[in-house]
Amino acid sequence: MDVLLNDEEEMIRDSVRQFFDAECDMLRVRGIEDGEQRSDPELWRQLAELGWLGLALPAVYGGSEAPFTQLCLLFEEAGRALAPIPLHPHSVACLTLAEAVDRGDCGALAETLLSDACLGDCLLTWAWSERLPNIGPEAVGLLAVADGNGWRLHGQKRFVEAFELADYCLVAARTEATGTSDEGITLLLVDPRSDGVSSTAQLSLAGDYHSEVRFENVYVAGDAVVGRVDEGWALARPMLERAVVLNCALIVGATRRAAERAFDYAKERVAFGHPIGSFQAIQHTCADMITWVDGAELLTREAAWHIAQGLDAALPAAAAKAFTNERCQAVLREANQIHGGYAQVKEYDQQLWYRRAAAWSMRLGTSLEHRRTVARAIGLV
């Protein structure tokens, strides 16, 4: 037991941070936010070249087979840097494909995509939630009706990241009309440019886009299945846990940076003849901020460690997300309060961290939903 980073982890954290410090300044972040492009292709290419896109993927596809804990550190740094790239949806989809291949439940398409994904030549995303913002199996209603060897999709998905940019989207559908249970779900790789697919990208608080995707009689071939037919939940559950933990890592990374900026500001800014950071009220607020973000980080890393160890991560992932959502919002709020009016001003940088981390904390399940999961896991339900 040693919850601190080991040498290898520190090395990874430091080199990722150096990379982002050098390549991803706020001009670049603002460039994507204010421009036409929705992702920075140059940054993406650089990440691929340095091997970061394949960090936790199997060596056979060009990955480094690093444990999930190290991927988690990469995400903390990506969050810290506000890297304007679809690292999250891409990684979630890639990890799920790799898991399916590893289980022997996947065809050749997935293997090709994984090789391309490590090289940065193929961008993947995934689609789960629909009408409600939930991430339990009850969220999946999209119908997949058998048609020969393949299926016909009828329905919609909401809150899909980078859908218009992606080469493939891993879509959760109901191949059996089992209502809201975890049976009868199948994961399918869908080309966003398929006939019958349409989408509307909606601007989020983070400045990126969440798409609403409609499927009207969309044909998907049999080899598009990832995992087993009707038993998609077996793969989806770890997918969702990974998605949740990586989302927490992004939030924690960005929130810590927002807090550090506030600490720095408190040291410099003078009011009533003293740096405001010398006032007890500000000092105690800062003490709470670091305590909360540290707590979120430890919960997140412990959940990542469970995943890396192959242990059941449902409880620690839900606990991390429930806590991180709320406490990181609180840290951001206090960081704003320290900055005062400047926190509101667009041309001042603080808001970049604030908006993104806050928006991320609203994704992938509310704290209320995750606490339901916790309550179930600790035997209250």
Binding site: H210, R269, A271, Q329, R333, Q337, K346, E347, A359
Partner: protein, 389 residues
């Protein structure tokens, strides 16, 4: 203790409601939103303000001698509450925020000039307090006004000067004696915004609205722009600021995210489904109770003002509780609505994206017009008599 409204108040409420129903269109509301986002004040808005002014509803509780209506302050509360309920984003409080100070410290000529025009909406003030280096430490301001011949020459910079681009005047705090103690060398000037040497630069804010930096470069003003005693400005400002914090409008701002949330959960189909969770109900009910406290604090301050008491700490309590409730509401709402809460635009964004706007907007209340830190210190010292360091 009387927590109800009198028959007269209720009759007036009905009158206001009827007026708003007849005269507020979707177009004029849109015009106001556009103006908040930086557009010029539109003709419909101007016409509506004129109609409201004609009815004597701006500054209605003032003395008739100054263009008011000698009305019950509770009627003013009712009016502001109805304006907020009708979701008219018109801050009539801003129109008259400086009026108590002018009534208190102004010359007869200043009162005669400004007060009727404020009440009719012909004169509007931007608030020239905050400076880049100052923040909540208002008294450290560096903008200088130097006596020169029959007037003053002003140099310096203000920031977060909302509505500077569309106000006729700025209510300006400037230092007139740099050698005096921090609070004793400050004066207040009522400066027309079209005075040469004033430059306004927009600062765009997260919810999409505009505030400004205002630069003063050798701005020459007449002697009669001075309000009250030279070097006595701090004390005018402080008392006006305290009174300016009372009233229904702020309370309505504090609770508006809660009302939006409640409406969505009760009336939207998805909202209803989300609200079927007992844990959601519990959290929303908790917010409801807290909203009532925001309302009651406002009612308490008004009760005191109406009795002629300048509340020693109660307005500060209102100004802590309300803003922090507002922030808490948006954070709680974000964990009830989840991904819907972050949709800024688009057809699936509830209320056209108002939830994330409420979220980023809520924080303004916690530092605008006196931060919650400053308010807490004021309560402890003025209200509870705790000692200064």
């Amino acid at each position: 203790m009387d927590f109800g409204f009198s028959e007269e108040n209720e009759r007036f409420r009905a009158e206001v409601r009827a007026f708003l129903a007849a005269h507020v269109s979707a177009e004029v509301v849109q015009e106001m939103h556009d103006a908040d986002a930086g557009a010029d004040v539109g003709p419909l808005t101007k016409a509506l303000i004129r109609k409201i002014g004609d009815r004597g509803w701006i500054g209605m509780s003032w003395p008739a001698a100054y263009g008011g209506r000698d009305a019950d302050i509770i009627d003013q509360y009712v009016f502001e509450e109805e304006l907020a309920r009708a979701r008219v984003p018109l801050n009539l409080g801003n129109f008259i925020e400086q009026a108590p100070a002018i009534m208190q410290a102004g010359t007869e000529a200043q009162k005669k000039y400004f007060l009727p025009r404020l009440v009719r909406g012909e004169v509007t003030f931007a608030l020239g307090y905050t400076e880049p280096s100052g923040g909540t430490d208002l008294a450290s301001l560096k903008t200088r006004a130097v006596a020169d011949g029959d007037g003053f020459v002003i140099n310096g910079q203000k920031v977060f000067t909302t509505r500077a681009e569309r106000s006729s005047h700025i209510y300006l705090m400037a230092r007139t004696d740099p050698d005096a103690a921090k609070h004793e060398g400050i004066s207040i000037f009522l400066v027309p915004m079209d005075t040469p040497g004033i430059t306004v630069r927009p600062l765009w804010t997260l919810p999409g609205g505009r505030t400004n930096e205002v630069f003063f470069d050798n701005v020459r003003v007449a002697k009669d722009t001075l309000l009250g005693e030279k070097n006595g400005g701090w004390h005018i400002g402080a008392s006006a600021l305290n009174l300016g914090r009372a009233g229904a409008r702020r309370y309505c701002i504090y609770v508006s995210p809660f009302e939006d949330l409640l409406e969505y959960l009760r009336e939207d189909e998805i909202g209803q489904e989300i609200a079927s969770d007992a844990a959601v109900q519990d959290r929303v009910a908790e917010l409801y109770c807290e909203a009532q406290v925001a309302r009651l604090f406002t009612m308490r301050s008004l009760s005191m003002v109406r009795r002629g008491v300048n509340p020693p700490y109660e307005i500060s309590s209102e100004k802590i509780w309300g803003p922090e409730f507002q922030v808490r509401t948006t954070e709680t709402a974000s964990q009830i609505l989840g991904a819907y809460h972050q949709l800024w635009q688009g057809e699936t964004a509830p209320n056209g994206g108002s939830f994330p706007r409420q979220y980023v907007n809520a924080m303004v209340s916690t530092f605008g017009h006196g931060s919650t830190q400053v308010m807490r210190t004021a309560i402890a010292r003025r209200g509870l008599g705790l000692p200064k360091d």
